[in-house]
């Protein structure tokens, strides 16, 4: 028999009140051992999806299962296998970090306290002060520790690196990779492609409550555009650049050219520019909104 997926949803929908369709007919399958990035702008339905998976919300239609356990009927059993970091983490302000972690550990029965201490040390969590005195980043560390401390089979993280400095972001990414290497599953929501592209195997893109696309990170990046601004020593006719595959000339301001190009065309573009004297070159990733627009354009072309 087929091993049940870590996450599987069947036409999962959530409507708030009578009108607000936060999630519409989500069919998603995340295999055990996978790192799955769940991308979308704020308000797209990412947190709604996660809260449905954890049984915090009741589906309007459809259902979801974690490791084959229905999130409504077998809610407790399914949550036993999950560690969760909420997007808007609220801890018990009066407790110290240590007390908070111990109080949460009691809800799980028993927790490997050695591993917990190791996590605290690794992330540099502040344990001996009341949580209300901690900065957002330090609270987030407590949140990360509690999500991982019971070696969960599935870690669900809602915007996990918000408020963390770059060093810690790297530490969190390392933690995610180790979890996956040990056979764990990671479900990671984010509004930034940059945050997930280093860790995720596959990415699902959600917009206005609908899953727009599921793809591997590589192919998404190949398709995603870069904004290139190049300043040359003298004005040039950009016509020859537009002939390169996928490159578009957006604007010409004297000797400064604004171009858009997929990542796959960057090499050819730079080599073509190299025949002139280049004073400056800036390449920026297009933001997710533009990737969506690109995806919609493709979808429209296809229909």
């Amino acid at each position: 028999m087929l091993e049940p997926a870590a996450i599987e949803t069947f036409g999962l929908s959530k409507t708030y009140g009578k009108k607000v369709r936060a999630l519409v007919g989500l069919d998603l399958r995340v295999e055990a051992g996978e790192v799955f990035g769940y991308l979308g702008p704020n308000g797209a339905g990412k947190s709604t999806t996660i809260r449905l998976l954890l049984g915090l919300l009741r589906p309007t239609e459809g259902r979801a299962a974690l490791f084959g356990l229905d999130t409504s009927r077998d809610g407790v059993a399914s949550r036993r296998r999950v560690g969760y970091l909420p997007g808007d983490l609220r801890l018990a302000d009066r407790l110290t970090g240590k007390e908070q972690l111990e109080s949460l550990a009691r809800l799980r029965g028993s927790v490997d306290s050695g591993f917990r201490d190791e996590l605290c040390e690794r992330l540099g969590a502040v344990l001996d002060r009341p949580i209300r005195q901690l900065s957002k980043g330090n609270r987030q560390k407590i949140g990360l520790v509690q999500a991982f401390m019971d070696h969960p089979d599935l870690v669900v993280l809602d915007e996990p690196t918000a408020g963390l400095d770059p060093l810690l972001q790297a530490e969190v990414r390392a933690l995610l990779r180790e979890t996956a290497a040990a056979g764990g599953t990671v479900f990671l929501s984010s509004h930034s492609l940059d945050e997930v592209q280093h860790t995720a195997d596959r990415v699902g893109i959600i917009r206005s409550g609908r899953l727009v696309d599921v793809d591997s990170v590589e192919s998404l990046r190949e398709r995603s555009l870069r904004h290139v601004t190049v300043t040359l020593a003298e004005p040039v006719d950009p016509g020859y650049l537009a002939q390169l595959d996928g490159v578009r000339v957006v604007r010409v301001e004297g000797s400064t050219l604004r171009l858009s190009a997929p990542e796959t065309a960057m090499d050819a573009l730079v080599k073509a520019l190299a025949s002139h004297t280049v004073l400056d070159l800036v390449s920026e990733p297009a933001d997710l909104e533009e990737i969506f627009l690109e995806l919609y354009r493709e979808a429209d072309d296809g229909s």
Binding site: V76, A77, R79, L104, L107
Partner: protein
């Protein structure tokens, strides 16, 4: 609470020795006498009568109910409002069990506070010569705790059923005010009389130190409290958790 009990008790000797006080009370309007349990031929210059009026008719129930409703509201509706339930309920915890555990904590708090009031009164008894029956004092404290548990669990259950902190406070506070007034005034306003069975205050009985309490009434109040908490623990499963 203990300080207030002490203050009230320490005034008793001067009331006891003042013959004019009974007369003064006699001249109170009927509505006040009815509300404070003075109409039933009680004697305010006896220790039991004095404490019934000064503590058990209003102040102690008020203090215990404020605490009970506050505690019942805070523990679920308040935690949900502050967004702190999300993490806890994402753990392998049945919501029903969370509500019941919170109910136990609320009840423990109320019983402890009621017991502190009772112990404070018992300690002042020999000092100021209240000459109380300790059995009646114990029963009075128990009925106080029963009232507290009912209203506290009502606050908890309402908060578990609907995601509204305002309702979690408002419903039990309204029930308490209505119950108190019906019990105090049903003798004066005939149309209220049929509703007296719905008042928890009427069920446990007034002037507990002089008249004792209605034990069956207290059982009914506790049974109602259990029913309310049970309903809340079932209804909480059906709804969405709100996030701020």
């Amino acid at each position: 609470m203990a300080a207030y009990v002490g203050l009230v008790a320490s005034i008793f000797p001067s009331i006891e020795s003042s013959p004019d006080f009974s007369e003064l009370v006699e001249n109170y309007p009927d509505i006040l006498k009815s509300l404070f349990g003075l109409a039933e031929g009680g004697d305010i210059t006896s220790g039991a009568g004095y404490l019934d009026v000064e503590l058990f008719s209003l102040m102690l129930p008020l203090l215990v109910l404020v605490l009970a409703i506050g505690s019942g509201t805070r523990t679920f509706a308040g935690e949900e409002d502050a967004g702190r339930l999300e993490l806890v309920l994402s753990y392998p915890v049945r919501r029903r069990d969370a509500v019941l555990a919170k109910g136990a904590a609320v009840a423990t708090e109320i019983v402890l506070v009621s017991a502190v009031a009772g112990i404070a009164i018992a300690l002042f008894d020999p000092v100021v010569g209240l000459e109380l029956s300790f059995a009646r004092l114990g029963a009075a404290v128990a009925s106080l705790a029963a009232l507290g548990v009912f209203h506290g669990w009502l606050a908890l259950a309402v908060g578990a059923t609907v995601p509204s902190r305002a309702l979690a406070i408002g419903v039990p506070a309204g029930v308490a005010a209505a119950g108190y007034l019906v019990n105090g005034l049903h003798g004066l306003a005939g149309w209220l009389d049929p509703f007296r069975f719905l008042s928890p205050f009427w069920l446990v009985g007034s002037s507990p130190l002089q008249n004792g309490i209605d034990a069956w009434g207290a059982v009914v109040v506790l049974a109602a409290a259990v029913a309310v908490l049970g309903a809340g623990s079932l209804l909480v499963e059906r709804r969405d958790l709100q996030t701020p």
